[in-house]
């Protein structure tokens, strides 16, 4: 577009040559991100199906297994992620309305909530390791109960582990856009990365919203 010869310096700087204008680029990037999120949902979907199927076969083991999980820690983590989603939304809004310092503050807050989530996760994991509540053949819990608890903890570590890995990646991405926000690279004309990382972060949050009741609130 020849119209961006005056003004729109930002739009021009970040537009790739194969797009006609910034809007096309933004919409394309967003579509790509949604597609990627669809793959994430299907991947976790496989785990949910396996988990639900085995739960229907061994309900006692699932109930016994979930008694070993700390509901308080799980709830605090849920609150942390919900708050982080809120600050992420605020960060996207701030970036899209040219409020640099607000963007930075909200991104730091999001990062802090995510970090808090991982710290609590660390304490939960070490506690499980200590009690021998481990997957499969490493299950060595002395307190008894149905043997299929070993399978429950297989799912527990697979699901929370893969989710935790996504949180870590999210933290990396948030740090990356935080650094770019500090350099003042975002404006109402161009804030695509903030928006896309936001979408990703909401998915990470959403998956936890399903994981929490599935794992911690079995009845």
């Amino acid at each position: 577009m020849s119209s961006d010869s005056h003004g729109h310096a930002m739009e021009h700087a970040f537009r790739q040559h194969h797009f006609v204008d910034a809007e096309q680029q933004f919409e394309t990037s967003k579509l790509g991100m949604w597609l990627f999120l669809a793959t994430e949902i299907l991947m976790f979907g496989g785990l949910f199906v396996g988990f639900g199927l085995m739960q229907s076969v061994y309900p006692e083991a699932w109930v016994a297994g979930h008694h070993h999980l700390d509901r308080i820690m799980g709830s605090v983590n849920t609150v942390f992620l919900l708050c982080s989603s809120f600050t992420m939304v605020m960060a996207v809004y701030a970036a899209s309305t040219n409020q640099k310092s607000k963007t930075i503050i909200n991104l730091i807050a999001t990062l802090a909530f995510a970090g808090g989530f991982m710290v609590i996760k660390y304490f939960e994991y070490t506690h499980k390791f200590h009690d021998g509540l481990l997957p499969g053949r490493y299950f060595s819990y002395a307190g008894g109960g149905p043997p299929e608890q070993a399978m429950f903890f297989g799912f527990y570590f697979a699901m929370t582990g893969i989710h935790g890995f996504h949180v870590l990646i999210g933290m990396g991405l948030i740090t990356w856009i935080l650094l770019r926000a500090m350099k003042g690279e975002f404006s109402s004309a161009y804030y695509t990365p903030v928006d896309l990382v936001g979408l990703y972060w909401h998915l990470v949050d959403l998956i936890w919203i399903y994981l929490f009741p599935l794992l911690y609130l079995v009845s």
């Binding site: 537009r15 797009f19 394309t28 579509l31 299907l42 396996g50 199927l53 997957p135 053949r137």
Partner: protein, 550 residues
Amino acid sequence: MADIVATPKSHAQGDHHDVDYLHDGSLMSWMTTVDHKKLGVMYLWSILFMFFLGGVFALLVRLELIAPGRTIMDAEQYNKAFTLHGAIMVFLFIIPSIPAALGNFALPLMLGAKDVAFPRLNLASFWIYVTGALIATTAMFTGGVDTGWTFYTPYSTTTDGPVALMTFAAFVLGFSSILTGVNFIATVHKLRAPGMGWFKMPLFVWGIYSTAIIQVLATPVLAITLLLLIMERAFGVGVFDPKLGGDPVLFQHFFWFYSHPAVYIMILPGMAIISEVVPTMSQKVFFGYKATAFSSVAIAIVSFVVWGHHMFTSGQSQLAGAIFSFLTFLVGIPSAIKVFNWITTMYKGSVSLAAPMLYALMFLILFGIGGLTGIFLGTLSVDIHLHDTYFVVAHFHYVMMGSTVIAFLAGLHYWWPKMFGRMYNEGAARIGAILVFVGFNTTFLPQFLLGSRGMPRRYYNYLPEFQFLHQVSTVGSWILGLGFLIMAGYLFASLRKPFDAPSNPWHARTLDWQTSSPPITHNFHETPVLKQGPYDFFKPFEPSVEGYHE
């Protein structure tokens, strides 16, 4: 996601716009390119190498089977050889073959775009593929895997060897496939040339688009299945192990939920190529354009609900079996619509018998056989007899090789002049094509007979009465190999010539032919504005690219 910082300076009023994309041949320019054409070519060489490797294992397997008992290897080596043949051909060759190699090259050109939607993601996808290939190679050289490419539990969780590594390779390759799919869907949605509505898109684009949908929706399920399998081996969680209360059939459900749609990841792009070659080589408007376009989407949708036909004998409930059998028949409808439309398109056209068309005609014959024998196998009662016999082996080779690989060859010969700017020797190409056709049928027709007479698949040894048919099949594999050898010869020979291909040797109407051969770096001098439909052969040619002359 691709980060979107560009360097606009370098694209300002460049002189390098006008040189062809092969001009800068330095190694770094290839390794770090974000040009879809160069990435397509790099994929092409990679998959051709894998095809060669998988082909060597196929020849070894056939050679072993020339006589009962031990011929050149022992039973364990034989198990590893057919596993490597299958895993290489499926994960490293066929799945990326048409979409990632030819699709990468042709899709943006056909849409009149400068590149795919996310060029850097495209580069990442290529290197992830290479990483997956290297991991798979490591697994091969550190003992090899003997599970078959399907990794069925509980055998895959108990056998020795680097199964976890091989599985991880498939996981990584799946990731590459997902990213390519995401890229292509976004490209088709957002980067079509002005004037190109959905029903003005070439049918190749429809096919690749449908394929991309399956890649994006099915591959993640394979990813999680393979991760669970790795966990199973590492921790003995027991999800798939009946000893620990798990269910091995669950693995089959998970595996085929991906891998049956994956079969259509393999065949849809093949059909897409045929839909391009047939109207162009017949110089005739495509008969039933919309029906063919929608049939691709229909196949993509139905592909998700037929996975249970792999488990008719695995202890699935009878009701589920009957439903899956019925749903499987449904696939026949959109497939048959395509075949009728291709044939009707040729009717009263001026059909050229150049190499791409020879392969397209072979496809019609071989896909007919492969598709119809699929109906036999989808039939519940017949499948009880034929399950896990050579009939199945013959069937899926007619579809995977007889259809997809032959369509790939049609596409390779069709776009070769555009990709490399050179014409190959047409006479040699026809001889090669005939040898491939004869060799293929000699190899696989006897396997239908073997299977219907009860020869089980994957067996190292067999009864003496099967020997004659096995020998015919092995001889066929040599003819097939010779055909490929000749093909390699004339294709490589063409690369030694200076550019001699006209920009539109087949007189096609799609945009990929309205630029030089090989195309310039940014594909077109001006953004094309679509003037004609892709198959408007009944009208005089009117270029959509300003200043283009044939």
